[in-house]
Each structure stands twice: as C-alpha cells, then as structure tokens.
C-alpha cells in the first residue's frame, strides 16, 4: 500500500486540472463497481421483499381473513418483517452502495480492498435474512426497530465493522484538501449507527434495563436510526448530487455548517416524543419536545441551502431523473421535519399519538425523503459504475410518477385518516362518556385502509419498473459504436 499522506501533500487539489480530477473520479467509479453492484442487487431484492410484506400487512387492515390462519404471516410478524426488510435490508444496503462511492469521489481516492466491502455485504445480508426469518418464525424481540432476534446480531456487527469502517478509512486516505459538507454527514452517520446499535443491543437484549428505561432506550435508538443514520446519509447525498448534476456550487458554506451541527445537537434528543403521555417523567418528555421543535433550525437551514442552489434551474432539474427524485426528497425532508416538530408538541401529539397519523409520518420520512433521494442517487451512480446508460427512460418515468404520486397519496390518506381517528378517539361528551365507541372509530377508518392499500399497489408498480430497468441495464451489452447519451426524462434538455 502506498503512503497516502505523502500523496495528499504532494497534490494541491486547487491546482489539479479538471481533467486530472475527472480521471480520479473514473478510478473511484471503477473501483466501486463490484461492491456497488453487489449492494444494489441486495438492496433491490430487499426492496421487493419489503414491498410484499407491506402489501400483506396493508391488506390485513381491511381484510382480516387474508392469510388469516397463517402463524408466520400474522399481522404482528409481517409488519416487523416489512420494517426490518426496508430499514436494514433496503435502506442500509443502498447506503452501503451510495455512501462509499460518494465518499470516494469527494476524497478523490479509489476504494481499496473492495473484497472486504463485499465480504461485509455478504455477512450483512445473511444477518438480515436470518433476522427476518427469525421474526416470521416467532423469535422476534418486542422492541420496535430492533425486532431481529439476538442470534442475528453478531453477523450484523461483523458486517458493519467490515463495511462501515471503510467510509472512515476513505476519509483518512483522502487526497483532496477540501472537506465537503457531505463528508461530515457520512462520517457522523457511520460513527453514530454502531454506537446506537451497540447501546440498544446491550440495554435491551443482552442485559435489559429495568422498567421504562427500556422504552427510553428503545425510542432514543429507534428515532436515531432515522435521524442519525438514514437522515444524514440522505442529506449528504442530496448535498452532493444537487450541485453536481446542476453544476452550481451549494449556496452557502455557513449554512452547511450550521445545518450539520444543529442537526447533530438536537436530533438525538427528539426520540422521547414517542412516549408523550406515557409513564415517563415530565422533564424527559419536555426535553424531547424542545429538541424536536429546535429541529426547525437545521431543517430551515438545509431547505434554504438546497432551494437556493436549485432555484432557476428547474428545467434542467426536471429533465434529470436524479434531480427529480432528489429534489422531491429534499422538499419532503422540509415538510416531514416541520410536521414532526409540530407533532412533538403535547397538544398535537395528544391527537396524533397512537393513530395512523404516526404511520403516515414514518412513511413520509423514510420513503418520501430518504428512499426517494436514494433512488436519485442510484440513477446517477449506476451508469458511472457500469459505464452504461439506463436502458429505458419510460421505465424511469413510470418509477418516478408511481412512487411520487403513490407515496404522497399514502401520506395524505394516512394523515387525514389518522387525524380524524385521533379526534374521534379523544372526543368526550359533557357527561364524561366517549362520543365514539372504539369499534365505531375503527369501522370509520376502513375506507382509508383500502385507499392505503391502493397507494401501496401504485408504489409497487414503481418498484417493479425500477427493478426491471436495473436488471435490464445489468444484462445489456452496450454497443460501443453508438455514443452513450444520458437517459433524460424530457426532450428539451
């Protein structure tokens, strides 16, 4: 191995010619090809598996008899199989594909020893597979977001040690003097997740804490998987892709700094808002509420920074599949976070807690924001890894419309239904009796549940389009004589 430090000092990136930089980028792309494709294939299979679990769970909400006599596919198990397949299967695999690639590009250093990355990936996927079979078989742990049985954990730990440390090593080997905002987010995320996961495993599974300390740890962990793992990765990817595709510098370095550190400071306190009204001391709940509301600062900052970078370039953005998905995700980050801050207020939470509003909010965050940005990143990354173009603009278009419309409708349906559900559950008449019996409220929600399944079908169509396009791209042999042209979604650009 060469001594990277000496190289780093030998090269001043500011004097490096643009061509030289491009050659370095191409090296990063080539080195990431095998692990990138491996992680993407795994991620896509998990995405499809998670989608199937989601549909089964959604149908059960309006059709109790659907798979009603199957123990493995009883609602409680399918639902956690869905969550784990999406977060640890799809989400984390796609992060393992995208994050090292962007990190490598920003560090101007190719990814070395990619075999270790792939080995880590194999372990990770075996771990998640065992975990999900364990859930379906009934070994699940009754802790939300941590359902995978304890015997899957060591595999996941080994896998993360092999894979996650790579992003940090890449940063150590960086050959660019400048450190871009995406790199902070990635570094932080790859440091935070193992900490969160270790603490949660110790305090909830191996040496469970006593009483409601478990719940505190649970929601400190679960909310931070979203806030300190999925969110920084998606934000980092957006920070890279928006200026990259549009060819315009990000609006303000100062805003980037404020956005990053305020997120780091506030997000990790916010999880307690899942316990509002519960047997938790008031001061802890208040701390969670305050932190959730303070999240307005990083959200507004990031929103300004992204918006001011995109502004005026809407036509170019609309033509690029990457920008369509990424900007959709960035807009929804603003929306979902501001909603989340509002939901953490006790008076709002009194209505939304325990209802489908929360479910809608979770999909808003993990899908409309995180997953959509990851889709955008994949649309940008894959052609460069494979040195091919996406075969079908039509399928990309279908993917875009089906998922964007599908998830937006789903969030609207669940939020509306959930809000009314909350109001009706809380409605008390003057003589101290409830206005709506519990069953009446549930029966009222039935049409919403049917609509939710329909939006789920729409999203599934999008996923199938993505799946086909991806494997089509993987299988095609590009004709070297025809010049490669980018797959764009509109003709003007």
């Amino acid at each position: 191995m060469s001594v990277p430090a000496s190289i780093a000092t030998a090269i001043d990136p500011r004097t490096e010619s643009p061509e030289a930089i491009r050659v370095r980028l191409s090296e990063v792309d080539t080195s990431m090809k095998v692990p990138g494709v491996f992680f993407m294939i795994s991620a896509l299979f998990w995405l499809m598996a998670g989608t199937v679990f989601a549909l089964i769970a959604a149908i059960k909400f309006h059709n109790v008899d659907f798979l009603g006599d199957s123990e493995a596919f009883t609602f409680g198990r399918v639902r956690s199989a869905h969550l784990n397949a999406m977060i640890y299967g799809w989400g984390t695999n796609v992060i393992f594909a995208v994050a090292p690639w962007i990190m490598g590009r920003l560090c101007r250093t190719r990814i070395r020893f990619t075999n270790i990355l792939v080995i880590g990936g194999v372990f990770w996927n075996i771990g998640v597979t065992i975990g999900i079979f364990g859930i379906l078989a009934g070994d699940k742990i009754g802790v939300e977001w941590l359902e995978m049985p304890a015997y899957a954990t060591p595999l996941l730990a080994i896998a993360f040690a092999c894979t996650g440390v790579w992003v940090v090593l890449l940063f150590r080997w960086r050959e660019s003097g400048h450190v871009y905002v995406s790199q902070w987010y990635f570094l932080a995320a790859f440091f935070w997740l193992p900490w969160l996961y270790t603490i949660a495993q110790i305090m909830l599974v191996f040496e469970p804490a006593r009483g409601v300390v478990q719940s505190l740890t649970n929601w400190w962990f679960a909310h931070n998987v979203l806030g300190l793992w999925l969110t920084p990765i998606a934000l980092g990817a957006a920070y890279y892709l928006i200026p990259k595709v549009l060819g315009r510098p990000i609006y303000s370095y100062y805003l980037s700094v404020i956005g990053f550190w305020s997120l780091a400071l506030f997000y990790n306190w916010a999880g307690v808002h899942h316990l509002i009204g519960g047997p938790i001391p008031a001061w802890l709940i208040s701390a969670g509420t305050v932190a959730s509301v303070m999240m307005v600062i990083p959200v507004i900052v990031v929103a300004i920074n992204h918006h001011m970078t995109v502004v005026g370039l809407h036509k170019e953005g609309w033509a690029s599949p990457t920008i369509r998905f990424v900007v959709f995700g960035a807009i929804n980050y603003t929306a979902v976070s501001l909603l989340g801050s509002a939901m953490a207020l006790r008076s709002v939470n009194e209505v939304t807690h325990f209802t489908h509003f929360t479910v809608g909010h979770a999909h808003h965050g993990v899908y409309s924001f995180f997953t959509m940005i990851m889709f955008g990143a994949v649309y940008y990354m894959m052609p460069r890894l494979l040195n091919r173009e996406w075969p079908s603009a039509m399928l990309i278009s279908l993917h875009w419309w089906a998922t964007a419309v599908g998830v937006t409708l789903m969030v609207v349906v669940l939020s509306l239904g959930g809000w009314i559900q909350g109001l009706r559950l809380n409605a008390i008449s003057d003589d101290g009796t409830v206005v709506y019996q519990f069953m009446e409220v549930m029966e009222y929600l039935n049409p919403y549940m049917v609509m939710r399944s329909l939006t789920g079908v729409l999203i599934t169509i999008g996923h199938v389009a993505f799946f086909i396009n991806f494997f089509w791209m993987l299988c095609q042999r590009p004709d070297p004589r025809t010049p490669a042209r980018p797959t764009l979604l509109t003709n003007e650009a």
Partner: protein, 246 residues
C-alpha cells in the same frame, strides 16, 4: 475487477494515459470519456451570508426552549408526570359528593358493557342479549346484580330469543358503580326501558350475601331463586322470591 486493485497506483496527479490505457478498449475509453466529460464539476461551496431572519429565528426558538423547559420541566423529578401540576401536592380527600347516577351509569356502561351489548344496547343475535327493551333488564334488580357480580354462563332466553355464551364477572366494580349502571339501563329512555332505579345499598346487600360466589350464574339457577323472567317487576309485586311466587 481484481486487476483494478493490483494495478500500480500513480503517485501523482500527472497524466495517466498508460494507467487507464490497459483497462479500456478504445470504444470503451470513448464511452467512458463521454460520460465523464458530460459530468459537471465536483460540488463546491458558495459563501453566501446567513440570512438575517435565520438569526432571529434561532434566537426566538432558543428563548422559547428556555421558557418551555422552565414551565414544563417537571422540576427534573422522576415522579413528576403531569407537566402542568405543581410538585408535592397530594390528592386531597374531598369527602362524599352528590353523584348523578345516570351520568355515572352511562359512563360505566360505555366502559364495560358496550363492547358486547352495543352502545345502543341492541346486543348480537344468539351471543350477546340486548339490554334495550329487554325483559331481563326490567325484571327483578337482584337478578341483574347477581349476574353483574359473578357473571352468567350457558343458555338463556331474552325477549323469547335464545342466547348462549358467557358473561364476564364485574365484581371489581364498586357498589355505587353497579347501582349506577343498572339504574341507567333500567331507566334511560334511550334504551327503551322503563323500570325502577337500583340503590347502592341493595347492591351491597346482595354482595354481602353472594359475594363469595366465584363461578358464574346460570339461567336455571337464577330462575330457581327469582322465578321466571316477566319483565314487569315493581317493588310492589315483590323483590323477594317468596313474594314472586305468591
């Protein structure tokens, strides 16, 4: 792809034509270049200043956060759950209070009975007998108190229709709650019943007599004590089995 790992890493940023050359065919090189060349610059950062309103926003939010923690901080006490309450105040004994039996009864009904007997008291054919316009409800209150205290199992007939299931015992409810809920179902016009109220004293009396009973009543057992269900009981036509038989 293994060769990409083994290939010598160029030690500087100078031209790498040889380095690249052995990895791509000419066409591939062109394609690669086409992709690379159309790529825009790597991201960089502008240095636009922070908008002024953001400074105010941060100040306002920080101010609010401080106020909120002082107001709703719960004194950082582990046993302080209601953020609006003041610490150290124990619940005061306010003494006996006048109770609206109908309102209490309606609440007890909606909490405990409505899931089976229905919010409107119509029940479910064959399984849960109705309480609205029901002969059992307008019969001897002691029979109802016994059923409420210890539950009821096995076949019965209500309004001439057969029902066969088991009812949960509600002995955990207080005398006053049972009296209230029975008063409610016997007298509330919305349920279509028009009979006499039940007093907590009567419940206490039945509980004293039968409170030790653990297993549910059956229809015939109750009929043995109270006679057949007629649905037009009144204090004058008898509250005890002896008078009922006369």
């Amino acid at each position: 792809m293994s060769d990409s790992d083994k290939s010598p890493y160029p030690p500087s940023g100078e031209s790498r034509s040889t380095f690249e050359g052995h990895r791509f065919s000419d066409e591939g090189l062109q394609r690669k270049h086409a992709q690379l060349l159309r790529e825009k610059e790597e991201p960089s950062e502008g240095f636009s200043p922070m908008p002024l309103f953001l400074v105010f926003l941060i100040m306002i939010l920080s101010f609010w956060a401080g106020i909120y923690m002082v107001e709703y901080g719960g004194y950082f006490d582990a046993f302080h759950f209601d953020e609006t309450a003041t610490p150290g105040i124990l619940v005061q004994d306010t003494g006996p209070q006048e109770v609206d039996m109908l309102a209490l009864g309606r609440r007890v009904y909606s909490q405990n009975c409505a899931i089976c007997h229905g919010a409107d008291g119509s029940g479910q054919a064959g399984v849960f007998p109705p309480v609205a316009r029901a002969d059992w409800v307008q019969d001897n209150p002691e029979r109802l108190i016994k059923v409420t205290l210890a539950g009821l199992a096995g076949p019965i007939e209500v309004n001439g229709r057969p029902y066969n299931n088991a009812m949960t015992a509600f002995g955990r409810l207080s005398d006053q709650q049972i009296a209230a809920v029975l008063t409610y179902i016997r007298t509330d016009p919305a349920l279509g019943n028009n009979s006499y109220p039940v007093s907590p004293e009567l419940v206490a009396q039945v509980r004293a007599e039968w409170g030790a009973r653990r297993n549910a009543w059956t229809g015939p057992e109750l009929e043995e004590i109270h006679g057949p269900v007629t649905g037009n009981w009144s204090p004058s036509n008898g509250s005890t089995p002896e008078t009922a038989e006369e």
